[in-house]
């Protein structure tokens, strides 16, 4: 249930979805990783909600537990203490309702782009001809025409990211978790991918949690930006992005609200950044 402490305090909500169903509900969660010499708390007492159809960006210094939160939502790990609910239920097993795009490339290296993209449908027992159509369409939408029979190793980094996006979107997950998906891409390609992601999320009304280091990227994409403190991560600022949609990723920097929002987020991140090795 929404935590009153996390209500936006500054902006007028253009796309306020707080009245909708809570998709991800993290309440006072702590994740402790046990080690031989020392144990560390990746997140500590973290409370955050993501509502249906919302696009939330998590920003924070390295090691502040952003990925940990995604892993818990994906059901790959569970919180040490506290409650994490996905649509009101805990996630003890891998969450098959979501799509998770990790920072690392994890396409199957021995399978072609077409096989990778069609993998989820194959697992779900979709008949071959339907699958082929869906794969063709997805490959086309993501601009990978002509690379269906290539192997991941033969693709550029950007194309691999697109293939990962395709293989996730093809099964129409109700929520999307992305962990710095465009971090390694060059500036132009990054913008193209952002535009593409915005379009898809809007069309399919996918709830999205997007982890990034990049404040500009967060403002461009999100309905709400959650700034996390350095490890152990807590919510430092929960900021509504009051820029109307649909947005133009190429022109958003000249929007009058962009500057003030950027400053506000920078300020919140400032002290935390000094502690993190990079931003």
């Amino acid at each position: 249930m929404p935590d009153p402490n996390n209500r936006p305090h500054s902006a007028i909500a253009v796309t306020d979805r707080t009245d909708r169903e809570v998709v991800v509900h993290a309440s006072r969660i702590t994740k402790r990783f046990l080690g031989k010499r020392e144990s560390i708390n990746a997140v500590s007492d973290l409370t955050v909600d993501v509502h249906a159809g919302e696009f939330v960006c998590l920003v924070g210094p390295s090691g502040c537990g952003k990925s940990t939160l995604l892993n818990m939502t994906a059901g790959l790990m569970s919180p040490t203490t506290g409650v994490l609910l996905y649509r009101s239920a805990p996630v003890p097993r891998p969450n098959t309702k979501i799509g998770y795009i990790t920072q690392k490339d994890n396409l199957l290296p021995w399978a072609t782009v077409a096989d990778n993209v069609g993998l989820a449908l194959k697992i779900r027992g979709v008949p071959k001809n339907q699958r082929r159509d869906a794969v063709e369409r997805t490959i086309h939408v993501l601009g990978l025409d002509g690379f269906a029979e290539s192997y991941p190793a033969q693709l550029s980094g950007g194309m691999r990211k697109r293939a990962m996006l395709g293989r996730t979107l093809i099964y129409k997950p109700e929520a999307l978790l992305l962990d710095e998906p465009f971090g390694a891409l060059d500036a132009q390609l990054k913008l193209v991918m952002q535009q593409e992601l915005l379009r898809i999320c809007q069309e399919e009304k996918i709830t999205t949690v997007f982890v990034t280091h990049d404040i500009a990227e967060a403002i461009t994409l999100a309905d709400r930006v959650v700034v996390m403190s350095k490890r152990p991560g807590r919510v430092k600022l929960d900021c509504q992005i009051d820029i109307a949609r649909p947005r133009d990723v190429f022109g958003i920097r000249s929007h009058p609200r962009f500057g003030p929002l950027h400053d506000e987020l920078w300020q919140a991140l400032g002290d935390e950044m000094l502690a993190g090795e990079d931003m």
Partner: protein, 284 residues
């Protein structure tokens, strides 16, 4: 001669300098290769000739036989089927042992690779058995399984088993956990993860194990035959030795050299073809 032709063509302007370089290069390579092979053949001839001359003059023929006698005996044994019969027997044990050992090795390697607890329990025990020289087990297997083919199959299988097992085990352990997570989030169940991720990703390791195990299967079978048998190349070696028949021994050693050389050449060919291998298709 051909070198000057290429040079003439270059001077005429029919070919450019890169083509000339390429032609020169392949020709020099070919010439080098020819020299290597010629020298090699010459060396073999010299050794055989020296052997032939030394036998009966410098060293008693009883100890070292001589090439002409060996070739003559090989001819006789080839004609009367002695070589074919014994070689076939040995190869049969080799193949059976190889197949059984491989299957067991892959199965157990996979199991231990995926079930961490079991691996931790069994690891030192398997290592202990692995560290025994396999020849030491041969008398026991012969006691248990008789002097027939079965005991040879078991010895070959045990030798093969460990090689395939350790490679499969390693392969199954080194599967990228991120790939497994990705497939599980897509809804993959245990079986789909195993067949769709673990198996293909271990494939390179398994192939390596299968490849290096082949010559060891032959070794296992021959060793078993030497210890106790009534047939096979190893048996013939031993019989010849027991009857002071050095000529017979050299014939059988020759048979082994030829057989294992053929295996190596074939393996190298297959390996070269497979170096382009980068993918297996997902299993449903």
């Amino acid at each position: 001669m051909s070198l000057t032709r290429a040079t003439d063509e270059f001077l005429d302007g029919t070919i450019d300098s890169d083509t000339w370089d390429a032609k020169m290069y392949t020709r020099l390579q070919r010439r080098r290769r020819r020299r290597v092979i010629t020298t090699r053949i010459l060396l073999i001839v010299v050794v055989l000739f020296t052997w032939e001359m030394a036998s009966g003059r410098l060293v008693d023929e009883f100890w070292i036989s001589k090439p002409s006698a060996v070739i003559r005996r090989a001819g006789t044994w080839l004609a009367d089927g002695t070589i074919a019969e014994n070689l076939l027997y040995t190869l049969q044990s080799t193949v059976y042992g190889y197949v059984c050992g491989s299957i067991a090795g892959i199965a157990l390697g996979f199991l231990l690779g995926r079930v961490r607890f079991l691996a931790e329990v069994l690891d030192p025990l398997i290592l202990a058995v692995y560290s025994i020289p396999k020849i030491a087990l041969a008398p026991l297997f012969i006691l248990w399984f008789g002097i027939g083919m079965f005991s040879k199959v078991v010895i070959a299988a045990v030798t093969v088993f460990f090689l395939v097992f350790y490679n499969t085990y390693r392969g199954a352990r080194e599967v990228d956990p991120d790939l497994i997570d990705a497939v599980r989030i897509m809804g993959g169940n245990r079986r789909q993860v195993l067949l769709g991720v673990v198996l293909p990703s271990s494939m390179v390791w398994i192939f390596t194990g299968l490849r290096i195990a082949i010559p060891y299967a032959l070794t296992g079978a021959v060793v078993g035959e030497i210890v106790a048998s009534n047939k096979g190349v190893g048996h013939m070696l031993k019989v010849s030795a027991n009857t002071f028949d050095t000529t017979g021994m050299f014939v059988m050693l020759g048979v082994l050299i030829v057989t294992s050389s053929i295996i190596f050449v074939v393996l190298n060919r297959v390996e070269k073809k497979q170096s382009g291998w980068s993918a297996t298709h997902l299993h449903d």
